[in-house]
Symmetry: C2
Subunit: 346 residues, 2 copies
DNA sequence: TATTAGCACTCGATTTGGGTGAGTGCTAAT
DNA sequence: ATTAGCACTCACCCAAATCGAGTGCTAATA
């Protein structure tokens, strides 16, 4: 049932059919294909070949007297072995580079990447927020709030600022908090956040009896502060509304479910996670993704790297019937550009 | 042309008509209205009254042989003087209170408010981010980055953390930056950000010749850091997808334009701004808003206060044909709850 | 004078049915 | 193995027919 069972002609035919269908969205008939195709075969012969292709599950006819459209399997074979990737125009690349690269702020950079992905593809662009295995703590700062609460500011990975509010046992003065911060900064600066947590646990045992109460409090407090929020990742999405223009999305109910999934984030994140440890562009066609809401969509995704380490995934989401030959290199180059730019401004 | 020109009966009729139309979305005919209405009037009489109402522009017939539907003017009269507000169930209020009030973090609180607005109304919920006139600086911190850039962390309004990256003339050491921060903290802490900017400008003149270069740099740097980003406000939106269920939104193109407006934010913000200086719930019906994308929507909005000062607006966006009698009190109470909760956790 | 019953009429919505055309599968000829 | 020929299928389009909810107007009524 694999491509090897198809002779050259059948493959070429399938390729033409998919290309044609992607181009204008109409079921493709034998006559059209005969005219279109470079090789000269009569419609009748093509019909025979198409019957075979249908039997093998690569194409199917929406109804008796219509042409054929590719099935998921058909698309899969197409992208795996038939597709000829369109090399990107240099000018397109440099344009992307300029528009994405002009960002100082990493957050804005990511947002701009997703926006541009959506713009150049006319589909939805998604960029997973970077998630480093190692989160090194640079500095920590405590500020007292009312009601025994403390505002904690963490600077991690050299330049990212996080803040959270923790509840404390008693009221601390600004001076005390300063002391605590100093202690922790000295103890932890430059180390991985997870390791820091471990260090603190050990420290705690050592300290309990010997050291002064304040340091014990500090550790307690840091414990609270460093407990990572249950943050299973997040992403930036742009151009969802582009998807409303595709007639294959005409079904409002389905579209709504898709948008709800975007808001829920969980499913999309799981899917993107699958590309996190893959190398290069990955493609999920229709129901291949395993998520029902995506069964009429394809996702083209690629990991992006900083320092040679994969830290995130970006991609586009659009109808199964998309111009893979253009989208794939676009996603690819955007991932590389994003990685490179992140490296630069690091 | 005002309500005063309408006798009691006509008003009651209009009220019934609007209520009925809001309930099931079909043009309302004289027969239905005659059966529905408490008063016993024959369809023929009702037809006469309806003809008057139509002439005055309160209702109109989509076509000759259909019933009538309210016009914008009709809705306006309805919400202004005919509507009987449904008093909220105590249990609904306390449920809202619980769900919204259990948030420590102001950001999460706002998000939760918009989410709950959307849930209880089955429409889109929107909460403008608080915008205080006065932004008092609590602390500033500088951290050196590579390439002559500096990460600035500002803590304002006691507990909100902002960060930005600025470009400097030369490379500063951590120690130098610490000195600069100390100087600025001492000079500025507790003051309004705008005033600080002004102070710095004056300081600059004084300093230029006399004080050491570092302080001059500090002021230069602070200048850069305190220049507020062009931030015309922002909002949190939840439940957009709810809008996809209303058949009056069936037009995909229009829906897309609406969603695009949500993303663009500008128009919606301008509209919400109008409620910023109003007292209590405001209602914009259809094209009254002045924004074309909203011409089939109504917006019910209310300002919310902290310390008696209005700092933001929240509301819902839905089809013109919405249950105003339920939505209005819901928006009202949510605004009050949000204000109260913000006050508490301040 | 205000209300109502009666009636002809309007017009959107739905159904019906024929015609068209793109496409098919099968068969027989090449 | 390929192709021409042919009967057949079926979505799509259009026009006509039907239906029914609702109207405005007029004349009768309280």
């Amino acid at each position: 049932m694999s491509a090897t069972e198809l002779n050259e002609r059948a493959q070429l035919l399938l390729k033409n059919l998919v290309e044609r269908y992607i181009r204008d969205g109409q079921p493709v008939g034998s006559r059209t294909l005969s005219r279109e195709s470079t090789m000269e075969i009569s419609p009748a012969t093509i019909r025979n070949v198409m019957a075979d292709l249908e039997e093998l599950g690569f194409i199917h006819a929406p109804h008796t007297s219509a042409g054929r459209i590719p099935t998921i399997r058909g698309y899969r074979l197409f992208v795996d072995s038939l597709l000829t990737i369109k090399p990107l125009n240099k000018s397109v690349i440099s344009a992307l580079q300029q528009q994405i690269g002009c960002n100082e702020d990493p957050d804005k950079l990511l947002a701009s990447a997703s926006r541009h992905l959506s713009e150049v593809t006319s589909m939805a662009g998604v960029v997973m927020l970077p998630r480093r295995e190692q989160v090194s703590l640079r500095q920590v700062e405590f500020l007292p709030l009312s009601h025994n609460r403390v505002l904690v500011i963490l600077v991690v990975n050299e330049r990212e600022v996080q803040n959270r509010i923790i509840q404390t046992q008693r009221n601390y003065s600004a001076a005390e908090l300063q002391q605590i911060a100093n202690y922790l900064n000295q103890l932890c600066a430059g180390h991985d956040l997870r390791r820091v947590r471990q260090t603190l646990l050990n420290e705690m045992d050592d300290t309990r009896s010997s050291m002064n109460q304040l340091m014990a409090d500090a550790i307690q407090m840091a414990q609270q502060a460093f407990t990572e929020e249950e943050q299973n990742g997040d992403y930036l999405l742009a151009g969802q509304t582009n998807l409303m223009s595709y007639e294959e999305m005409g079904n409002l109910d389905k579209l709504r479910k898709l948008f709800d999934a975007f808001n829920r984030k969980r499913d999309i994140l799981r899917l993107l996670d699958q590309s996190l440890h893959a190398d290069g562009v990955q493609i999920f066609i229709g129901e291949e993704s395993g998520y029902e809401v995506l069964d009429e969509c394809s996702v083209v995704a690629s990991p992006y790297k900083v320092d040679g380490e994969v830290i995130g995934v970006l991609g586009v989401i659009g109808p199964t019937r998309m111009a893979y030959d253009r989208v794939i290199p676009l996603v690819d180059v955007t991932a590389q550009l994003l990685g490179a730019t992140l490296n630069q401004i690091k």
